[in-house]
Amino acid sequence: MTAETQAANAAAVADFRARARWQWYEPIFWLGAIAWYFLFPTYLPLGTQVLCSALFALSLDLILGYGGIVSLGHTTFFGIGAYTAGLLAKYGWGEPITCLLAGGVTAAIAGWICSFVIVRVQGVALLLVTLGINLVLYEIANKAYTITGGADGLQGIVFWKVFGVFDYDIEGRVAYIYTLAVVFLLFLVARRIVYSPFGLALKGMRENWKRMPALGAALRHHGALIFVLSAAIAGLAGALLAESVQFVALDSLGVQRSVDVLTMLIVGGTGVLYGSFVGATVYMVVRDQLADLNPAYWYFWIGLMLVVVVLFTRNGVVGALSDAAAWFQRRGRAQS
């Protein structure tokens, strides 16, 4: 092998390694999440909800932003995770870690069952099928009020101490730290998925699913696998929220929440991992502030924000930021 080809081969491998490497802004982001704990002690419950929503949005990003599979009913799995954890706690088993895992597992199983239908449709049909599954499940939970509490939500659930030591406190300190730790771990998992061989196959599906079979790819298998992984993470997010608020509302299965999470992801940016975190933060904080100003009409502003972001950015807030960074870099280079 000549030195030249050796260098070119090394450059090729380095290219993949560089993509997967931690970027300078990533620690800032997570340090920010830790700083929130100290800076806004009265906003810890909001912070916890932002984290749960971000994790939920991240699960949607895996199928939408990476795999190119659209869903208008992703809260199906969020709700299943939440109800699983909540029901376990209500009927006598409130150990947080196992309840959390149970939420992830049931959601994954539900995702696996749904995947048989999902992988057979594309585009608008896929939107409608996912929406349909969501609606069906919502009404089942609504009707089965003796188990789920129906429209009143699942009340009277008590989760035990985290690790048998840390009791959920009224300020939400334990819930915040516990949630942040779990979200970080799952973010690491999502990061592994994105930079794995399967992650590349996902991007291939997003970029051109028609070409994939011509490369020998079993599209339905790929689709089912990412759907199950995504459903599991959505379920974990739902279980996390149930644990931190010690309550499961019927709207955790509501189509509104499916639309909300899609909005967060689009506002933040798809296919960039951090888009879900940025989007969830912007969305939840804006909603929190707007609801204080005018509790009735805040969706007006959310709608306006969605339109502005989609019209004027390439890929949400993260897309706009990276475009701005690239612009400054170019300008800096031109001046030097």
Binding site: R17, Y195, S196, F198, A214, L215, G216, H221, L225
Partner: protein, 251 residues
């Protein structure tokens, strides 16, 4: 008698009342350089779609290396060694050629469902992908986004993606489509430099290219095989000249 690399028998396909493929009997010997020609609407691309499983035949059989593949889905035919390129670029715009070819290598190797190990650790697959791009002369394009590539380079990438599946039968649907005449020769140099073990079937409209690179020609008209034979024979056939080559026939 040696088995043909690819063989069809009595292949039929109708789009409603339109018979796009009629009773096609076709044989591609191992290592062949075979051109498929015919006027627009003759059903050439449909025939390739039937062979690759993008469309399923109404009746008839398709054999790859003597084994029936008629009922196999498209991706399994690829696994058996049947690859194709597309007349209209069917690439991954926001991936680099290196990523796209690595993806194809992962699919071939069966690593594409591994969702936890790092892709960067699959050095052999990445290096294989780069080597293929370099071999086809687009190694210097490997790290650019596909959508920023010159059209001619994208056409080469089409072939690279198919080759990354390590086929022994390669179907090229107008590989030089849209490429300016003075550059299309370069594409065919790439094609003629392919290993002899690979049987190649290509659709091509440029008769100069057909007669330069094909050792065998099949003429398809209205979904039927009109003639097949060596180039010299086809060029002299009065019926082919009348129906396809017209008066300004290749001399």
């Amino acid at each position: 008698m040696t088995t043909a690399a690819l063989k069809t028998h009595g292949l039929n396909k109708n789009f409603g009342g339109l018979k796009v493929t009629q009773d096609v009997k076709f044989e591609l010997p191992v290592g062949a350089r075979h051109a498929l020609i015919g006027p627009n609407g003759a059903g050439k691309t449909t025939f390739i779609n039937l062979l690759t499983g993008l469309l399923s035949a109404d009746s008839g059989t398709i054999e790859l290396d003597g084994r029936p593949i008629t009922d196999l889905p498209a991706h399994q035919r690829v696994k058996r060694g049947l690859a194709r390129t597309f007349q209209i670029n069917t690439l991954f715009p926001d991936l680099t050629p290196l990523e796209a070819v690595t993806l194809a290598a992962c699919e071939r190797h069966g690593t594409s469902r591994q969702w936890f190990p790092a892709l960067a650790n699959r050095k052999e697959l990445i290096e294989e992908a780069y080597a293929l791009l370099a071999e086809l002369g687009i190694g210097d394009q490997a790290h650019r986004l596909t959508r920023h590539l010159a059209y001619g380079h994208q056409r080469v990438l089409e072939i690279a993606l198919a080759l990354a599946t390590r086929p022994h039968v390669l179907l090229l649907d107008e590989p030089a489509a849209g490429v300016p005449a003075h550059e299309s020769g370069i594409l065919y140099e790439v094609i003629s430099a392919l290993p002899k073990e690979i049987a190649v079937l290509f659709i091509e409209h440029d008769m100069d290219l057909v007669f330069r690179f094909a050792s065998h020609i099949t003429v398809l008209v209205s979904g039927r095989v009109l003639r097949e034979g060596p180039p010299a024979e086809i060029a002299e056939d009065p019926e082919v000249r009348a129906v396809y080559l017209g008066t300004a026939a290749h001399g």
